[in-house]
């Protein structure tokens, strides 16, 4: 269940590994522990968004949460966060190699020291997970909280798990 969701960043080629009848969870991350996203359990409470914004810059930055809950029909929700793509568009398009894989968490992490704020990655991510912060003028994305994702920790419905 650990197959990475997308070998290519284009949405068209989302891996069938987590499609199919039994509704397997979306698996994000790799190797040791992964962030498992289970939309079927999601109750749309948005606690994950809140937790994320707390973890990344404190309250009042809700708008910049790196996970989002999207409605998908009646009482159905899909949590959208970075898929930590194998061959990630953001990292490929970055002209200064500021986005690199964290060896430990396997998350793609933006180095704020290296990012020059050109905005190319935001426009490049096929899933819309790369965010260009207009205030800090740096790219922001999910970094799996360095190995303890707040979204999963706080999800009351266990629709997000880090395991």
């Amino acid at each position: 269940m650990c197959a990475s969701p997308a070998s290519s960043p284009r949405p068209a080629s989302v891996s069938p590994a987590w499609s199919g009848e039994k509704a397997p969870p979306l698996v994000v991350g790799a190797v040791e522990r992964t962030l498992v996203v289970m939309p079927r359990r999601c109750i749309g409470c948005r606690t994950c968004e809140l937790a994320c914004s707390f973890a990344h810059g404190g309250p009042g930055r809700m708008a910049r949460a790196r996970i989002r809950v999207h409605p998908a029909g009646e009482k159905r929700f899909v949590q959208i966060t970075c898929l930590q793509c194998e061959n990630a568009a953001c990292a490929k398009v970055c002209p200064v190699q500021a986005i690199a894989r964290d060896e430990r968490t396997r998350a793609l992490v933006v180095s704020l020291e290296r990012c020059v704020g050109c905005g190319l990655c935001e426009a490049a991510c096929p899933f819309g997970h790369m965010h260009f912060d207009r205030e800090t003028r740096r790219a922001e994305k999910c970094d799996l909280c360095g190995g303890n994702p707040a979204c999963a920790a706080f999800c009351p419905a266990k629709a997000l798990e880090y395991r």
């Binding site: 949405p11 499609s19 509704a23 398009v93 290296r114 990012c115 020059v116 426009a123 819309g128 003028r137």
Partner: protein
């Protein structure tokens, strides 16, 4: 092969040739630095990242951003001399950029109050002439900016003083500017920067601006991207993705 350097007597691992400032910061040492950026070559302009070298043939005060880590290097990050010289250089910078929050915060922290007269305007208010914009612009391949002139008459801006051909309106110059002194204005219609106006490429779904047309064309041509690469904005891509995932899940 990793090497060891000693910062304030603490042993720190580094790669040979790494910037001492980078190594020190990674190890949690607080060294002020305004003109340093990891993505570009250091030129040592602001003179705030001073440390004291205590080993080798040439001990003494030096900038750390453009100092390369060498095995056995010993530095200290604080001393009365370092503090004094940092403060003096900060005072000189503050005269150029009295409106910069970063400088003001440092000044408040170090108790620096300018006692001298400001130098003649560098053409851009609050510009400290660190050339980060110039260096980043060149690193991105646009080469739209240049430093000209000597002494206090030095200026930074579009090469040859007129709107530069290479500029794509990406705004990275502003992103890296330590005093945020570069004026960039976005309206729904276009972005204005360095005396030029750039039309936005719009989201094919909602019509919101995504990226400037020129930047898009540059990126597509330079990186061999598909034509439709920048056709949808961040929120629209998210909702598209959510629909697609939903269809897979249910």
């Amino acid at each position: 092969m990793a090497i060891r350097i000693f910062i304030d007597e603490q042993e720190v691992k580094a790669e040979p040739g790494e910037s001492v400032l980078m190594v020190a910061r990674r190890a949690g040492f607080d060294i002020p630095a305004l003109c340093y950026h990891e993505a570009v070559e250091s030129i040592g302009a602001c003179r705030l990242c001073l440390v004291e070298v205590r080993s080798g043939a040439r001990p003494g005060i030096s900038t750390s951003c453009n100092m390369k880590a060498e095995d056995g290097l010993r530095i200290s990050t604080d001393s009365p001399e370092i503090r004094r010289d940092r403060a003096t250089n900060l005072e000189l910078l503050l005269l150029r950029a009295p409106g910069s929050p970063v400088l003001r915060e440092l000044a408040a922290r170090w108790g620096v109050r300018p006692r001298l007269q400001p130098p003649p305007d560098a053409g851009i208010a609050n510009c400290i002439l660190c050339e980060l914009c110039v260096r980043v612009c060149a690193a991105l391949g646009h080469n739209a900016l240049a430093a000209v002139g000597r002494g206090e008459k030095k200026r930074v801006g579009p090469a040859f003083g007129k709107p530069a051909e290479g500029c794509v309106g990406c705004g990275a110059c502003l992103s890296v500017c330590p005093t945020r002194c570069i004026v960039m204005k976005d309206t729904p219609a276009a972005r204005t920067i360095w005396g030029q106006s750039f039309e936005f490429h719009r989201c094919q779904v909602c019509g919101q601006p995504v990226i400037t047309e020129k930047h898009r064309a540059f990126a597509i041509a330079k990186r061999g991207l598909p034509e439709d690469y920048y056709d949808v904005c961040e929120p629209c891509k998210q909702s598209q993705a959510s629909q697609r995932f939903a269809s897979v899940v249910w």
